[in-house]
Subunit: 163 residues, 2 copies
Amino acid sequence: MGPTPETCGELLRPLRALMGLKQVALQRGLQLSDQVPYAAAGLLTELVHRGECRVSDLAHHRVVDASVVSRQVNQLEQAGLITRRPDPADRRVSLLRTTELGDRVVAELEQKKAEWIGEALVDWEDAKVRELARLLGDAMSDIRRHTIESGDHSDSGMREGTR
Amino acid sequence: MGPTPETCGELLRPLRALMGLKQVALQRGLQLSDQVPYAAAGLLTELVHRGECRVSDLAHHRVVDASVVSRQVNQLEQAGLITRRPDPADRRVSLLRTTELGDRVVAELEQKKAEWIGEALVDWEDAKVRELARLLGDAMSDIRRHTIESGDHSDSGMREGTR
DNA sequence: ATTTCAGTTGCGTGCTGCAACCAAGTGGTC
DNA sequence: GACCACTTGGTTGCAGCACGCAACTGAAAT
């Protein structure tokens, strides 16, 4: 069961291309302000879609270290895009929430991104794009699950991971 | 013509998720050796698929600065994965080519990646994965074209771009 | 009191772009 | 042909961002 190795190999090339475009496309004209260093913008977007949550939630969901989120949260807070309040039930945790400004800024950014993609895919039928979005969304869901599962074990003998 | 803004917006979420997984998934267990710093591995893979070409070709195709490619080429050369020879017709340019070792290493890596994806998408029908690969490949082709076109102009008044 | 957990900070590293630079080719003028 | 400016492919110095790990603080939980 499952796809053949060849089929999976076909996925590698566009995936690689997509990775490479991170720096380029999304960083070229698609920044928030000059202050928010782009990576934080992704976090902000996530927070908008998730609603109020804690730092560790974001870290887990984005599969990055908590320290990374912590720093980005600081940047966003200083920029007035989110607010932080201690959880009344557990004063260790900070509950994060976007400000009105943050919501607005994200909406603008998302729109700019969508426009940009629309320009790139101007020859596509709408249904085709929707199909791609659906497939990619499903794939990402499964891939992230697999990433987390196989990452938590970390027993595969392949220590010395990231750095 | 073209997809609706809403449809494009649907694409943003999985795209963002995919970006976030760069660090994680592909860096966890999918490194070449401990020497080749991962980004160079992508370049090597590209070189395998492209055949002998020059530094600037790779830079243009990956939409990165030539200096980046230059450094990665150095790393790959030191690792014995590629060779460099001056173009007889124009002694400024270096022609790059993968070594036999480089080819072998890339093949192994691609296989590992394909296996990994196969595990993540184990519940998928083969045809569905192929469909995703096709759509994503087409999309990336159009997106890169659009990136390069709108990037070369650089007239959009949005100077002070990348950094 | 000890342990555990959420979050923060110090530090080192990898990847990137820009600016400055070198070397080689191109085109003009004398 | 010789000499000059100009362009082009590539490299290196430098600075910036993003990240992970280790060490730490303060608040639960046991």
